[in-house]
């Protein structure tokens, strides 16, 4: 089946498109191996609150400078989007946006009668009103569970509005119940952008490289300068116009393939922009490989080698120094897939022992179908296997159980809410929000320094541990973490106990 098909309104969810899973317990090496021969997902007989696709789709379209967003659903389905408004404002200096404008976030506020009579008329009206109020250059309409189940024809409403208003009005299909892998929502947002916004290239611009990313610091301007190029950031702080001609860039890179998998592939397959498929530059080996791949693609191998040599000269001694201080410490990682894998590589480079990981989901391969892009495989090859590798779907109860068992020296997190459980157990924990922080040779140094700082300053967590409230039962903390995962020997028995 084709993974990228821009003629369809919807992109299929990751479970179907990539064979992604949300339940696994074993070692990282085993997961890589099984990923090549058909992974089977495992269900849970106990589960806690997850994220859903609609918030992830919103994450990618809300931060486009001149777009407006309409959540077509009850008011609750856009409740957390104010967080993106905060992010946009607070991080704008990192991207040179001097006057960040208010984010334009609306809800059609569906009520009970709409679930009976349909919400299409309401949506039609909403689009007109939002257009008049915001003068946005594009309007994204996000679907929700309620809109999906009642069967509103969102695509037709958007198409008609687009014709009437003369700006892109884009149906973005991201109902929460469609996927257990909430990153499917990123794909939905990108599919919307790719099918309706991006235009065929007018020219090929050798000085522009697309960077699919969140809102981290701009490390890329400096990195690309020796190649005579500059970054075109997608999508946070982009404009409708800059997205429209992302098709003209000379290449696309990913800050996190879990995020950009679909758009990277769509830009290559549909618009001829080659994607750098090498796993992102985390750890020395991957960074070497990544810069070489980039140099080769740009026909600038010599520049790549010069850059690698220069940076290594500066940073390798610093990395070695940090390694001496950190070696022998144990660490545990929790995060989304690709970034979690990246953190494992950084740990390996710094000499820490990764005693396990709780990674939210797993994509056997990305939309580019390329094994070279597999960051977990790269990490296992370069730094060795990782035991207690749990694909956990952000299930806190499994994380708490595992942490309590393994008691690592430090916990590295990527997503909110997870550091708490390290701290409650007296384990120093850190979350680094800037996803570019650990990239490249200098990123290893930055990360190493932060880990040292976290290990050193554990007074707060040690005090919290003494007073922490724990809602988990003693029974649960004594069970195996995968007790409620399908196929676990005790799972069936526990179900009937």
């Amino acid at each position: 089946m084709e993974k990228v098909n821009l003629s369809l309104p919807e992109v299929s969810v990751r479970e179907i498109r990539l064979g992604s899973i949300t339940g696994f317990q074993g070692s990282a090496g085993e997961l890589v191996q099984q990923s090549r021969c058909g992974l089977k997902d495992k269900a849970r007989s106990f589960s806690q609150c997850l994220g859903c696709s609609t918030a992830q789709a919103a994450c990618m379209v809300t931060l486009i400078q001149d777009a407006a967003v309409i959540s077509h659903g009850p008011v609750g389905c856009s409740s957390c989007l104010h967080e993106f408004a905060f992010t946009y404002r607070v991080n704008s200096p990192l991207r040179g946006v001097d006057h960040p404008t208010q984010r334009k976030i609306f809800s059609t506020n569906l009520d009970e009668s709409d679930t009976v009579y349909g919400g299409a008329a309401k949506l039609e009206k909403a689009i007109r009103e939002v257009h008049a109020r915001t003068n946005a250059n594009a309007i994204f309409v996000l679907t929700t569970c309620a809109a999906g189940i009642i069967g509103d024809d969102v695509e037709s409403v958007c198409d008609e509005a687009e014709e009437e208003l003369g700006i892109p009005v884009i149906a973005t299909f991201c109902e929460g119940f469609r996927s257990k892998v909430w990153t499917s929502g990123f794909d939905a947002g990108y599919h919307a952008i790719a099918r309706k916004l991006i235009k065929p290239p007018r020219e090929r611009r050798t000085d522009v490289i697309n960077v699919i990313n969140f809102w981290g610091s701009d490390i890329f301007s400096e990195w690309f300068a020796p190649f005579g190029a500059k970054p075109n950031f997608i999508t946070p702080y982009s404009t409708v116009e800059s997205l429209r001609y992302a098709s003209e860039a000379t290449a696309t890179i990913q800050a996190c393939q879990t995020l950009g998998s679909y758009l990277g592939a769509a830009l290559e397959q549909e618009f001829g922009v080659p994607e750098i498929k090498a796993a992102p530059p985390y750890g020395v080996a991957q960074t070497d490989h990544w810069f070489r791949t980039l140099g080769k693609l740009l026909g600038k191998e010599a520049e790549a080698e010069a850059l690698i040599a220069e940076k290594k000269k500066e940073y390798l001694p610093q990395i070695a120094e940090l390694r001496e201080k950190l070696v022998g410490h144990t660490a545990y990682v929790t995060g989304g897939a690709a970034h979690g894998h990246a953190l494992l590589s950084i740990l390996g480079e710094l000499g820490l022992t990764a005693v396990g990981a709780s990674i939210f989901h797993h994509d056997p391969l990305y939309d580019n179908d390329c094994e070279d892009a597999d960051a977990l495989a790269a990490s296992v090859n370069n730094y060795g296997d990782v035991p207690n590798f749990n694909v956990c779907n952000k299930q806190e109860f499994e994380l708490v159980n595992t942490l309590n068992r393994l008691r690592p020296d430090v916990l590295l997190c990527r997503h909110g809410g997870m550091t708490l459980w390290g701290a409650k157990l007296g384990i120093p924990a850190q979350l680094i929000g800037d996803e570019h922080f650990g990239m490249g040779y200098e990123g290893i140094v930055r990360y190493g320094e932060r880990i040292l700082e976290t290990l050193e300053n554990d007074e707060f967590v040690k005090n919290l541990e003494k007073h922490a409230v724990n809602p988990y039962t003693k029974w649960w903390l004594e069970q195996a973490p995968q007790t409620f995962l399908e196929g676990h020997p005790t799972a069936e028995e526990k179900k009937t106990a």
């Binding site: 007989s45 106990f46 589960s47 806690q48 609150c49 997850l50 994220g51 859903c52 696709s53 918030a55 659903g73 009850p74 008011v75 609750g76 389905c77 856009s78 409740s79 957390c80 989007l81 104010h82 967080e83 408004a85 905060f86 404002r89 208010q102 976030i105 609306f106 809800s107 506020n109 569906l110 009520d111 009970e112 009668s113 709409d114 679930t115 309401k122 009206k125 909403a126 109020r133 929700t144 569970c145 309620a146 189940i149 109902e175 929460g176 119940f177 469609r178 996927s179 257990k180 909430w182 806190e396 809410g417 997870m418 809602p471 988990y472 039962t473 649960w476 526990k494 179900k495 106990a497």
Partner: protein, 445 residues
């Protein structure tokens, strides 16, 4: 037909899961799509309590449950909740998916209740109503399905001086913890034993079991929570007294307490009115010591202070703060916005209450859940002098545009931390003053 909403200041029905989180050692169990809990967590922020947020069990509806129904999955999740989490009360809340599919959640929950589990089910499909309205649905469900099981040990109206208080909605009112503490202290000061039911000042489920014992209910709210007071009146014969706003500062706090004293006397609560009046007098004295000391600053500060305010909040705060700012601080309330989705039938009474604030001034009031639209009105307003906006994090950017001062006092509130601060009462008024002028003085560098 409800209209669109920009910059929502409240959330959907399932947001009332926070009322469960606010009951010590209780857990919400969501029978909903995967993102619902996350959306609510993101809306309120720093609101996980004992077992909310990522700890709360959820069936995470998938395509399969939408097609075939999710009751089996719910049953399994509840069963395993008892193994994994140590809680005193479980409340199952449904989302849109379960609501539209039509799962018989009551039947599943009944199975567990029959086995003696303290479990409650409540329909909170997001399209049904707002979280402010659903708060009453959740509370009434707990009363009917849990509190009612303990009626034998807790005879109705058996404690004359005990009252139940229904006031701040947990988390929707960012000052709920502090407010409930202050209400309790003030009401204890006039001789009442108060059950606040939510937060650290409540005794958890045992306090809930004792709800029927109360002589009467106090409702401090212009509209939300009214169905709770009405339900308890019908169920246990407990009358209630409603105070139509959030009492902030001396004038309204005294009015509130005097109303309760009178009502308590009518209901034979046996409180010592002389002692209660003495308590009021001492509180009032301490309050005006501060205002007296502060007045020079308010009247003389040469470098500029705000002279008028716009408030975007729920009806209780808009009323309480407007009255307080005008009479006790000297800031004139200009265009005010009730952004809580107050149902139409309450608008007239709220307008009348605001109109009674002053016989010299008319304070323009707008009921507008579409807060983006409310902002446009403020944007277009041209009142003389330096303004201050009291609203949510959304309004910080507007304040900057208008070059106004800004204080974050409503959700969502990413620019401010509130822990146990209270805005209710004499001390709450003083705290509002501190917060306003802290923000104002921070602009002088």
């Amino acid at each position: 037909m409800s209209g669109i909403i920009e910059q929502e200041r409240y959330t959907c029905a399932i947001g009332a899961l926070q009322s469960v989180v606010a009951i010590p050692r209780s857990v919400p169990i969501l029978h909903s799509g995967p993102g619902c809990g996350n959306m609510i967590q993101g809306f309120f922020e720093r609101s996980t309590g004992y077992a909310g947020g990522s700890t709360s069990p959820c069936t995470n509806f998938s395509e399969r449950e939408v097609v075939f129904g999710g009751v089996d999955r719910l049953r399994e999740n509840i069963k395993n909740t008892y193994k994994v989490l140590d809680t005193d009360l479980q409340v199952v809340l449904t989302g849109c998916t379960a609501g539209i599919v039509g799962d018989d959640v009551d039947a599943v929950v009944e199975e567990f209740r029959e086995k003696g589990k303290p479990i409650v089910a409540v329909e909170t499909a997001g399209f049904k109503c707002s979280n402010l309205e659903a708060h009453s649905l959740v509370v009434n469900a707990i009363i009917d399905q849990y509190v009612s099981l303990f009626e034998a040990e807790n005879p109705a109206r058996s404690e004359k001086a005990t009252v139940n208080l229904w006031a701040s909605i947990p988390y929707q009112d960012p000052f709920w913890k502090g407010n409930l503490r202050e209400y309790k202290r003030l009401l204890a000061g006039i001789g009442l034993n108060v059950q606040v039911l939510f937060g650290p000042e409540s005794a958890g489920v045992t306090e809930w079991q004792r709800i029927p014992r109360a002589n009467f209910n106090i409702l401090a709210s212009p509209w939300y929570g009214l169905p709770i007071a009405e339900h308890l009146e019908e169920k246990y014969g407990q009358p209630f007294t409603q105070f139509p706003l959030i009492p902030i500062g001396a004038n309204e706090t005294e009015r509130f307490l005097r109303q309760v004293i009178d009502f308590a006397a009518e209901q034979g609560a046996g409180i010592d009115v002389g002692k209660a009046e003495a308590f009021l007098k001492s509180e009032e004295g301490a309050y005006y010591d501060e205002i007296d000391n502060l007045a020079t600053f308010l009247l003389e500060f040469r470098y500029g202070l705000p002279n008028h305010a716009h408030i975007l909040h729920d009806a209780g705060y808009v009323l309480g703060l407007s009255k307080f700012l005008l009479h006790e601080v000297g800031i004139v309330p200009k265009e005010q916005f009730v952004v809580d989705g107050t149902p139409q039938q309450f608008h007239a009474a709220i307008k009348a209450e605001l109109a009674a604030t002053s016989d010299k001034k008319t304070i323009p009031l707008c009921f507008e859940p579409d807060a983006g639209k409310a902002q446009d009105v403020i944007r277009a307003a041209s009142n003389k002098g330096r303004g201050i906006i009291l609203g949510s994090g959304w309004d910080k950017e507007l304040a900057k545009e208008k070059d106004f001062d800004f204080l974050s006092i409503s959700v969502p509130s990413p620019y401010r931390l509130v822990l146990t601060t209270n805005y209710v009462g004499f001390s709450g008024g003083l705290r509002v003053i501190e917060d306003i002028y802290d923000a104002v003085l921070a602009t002088y560098r």
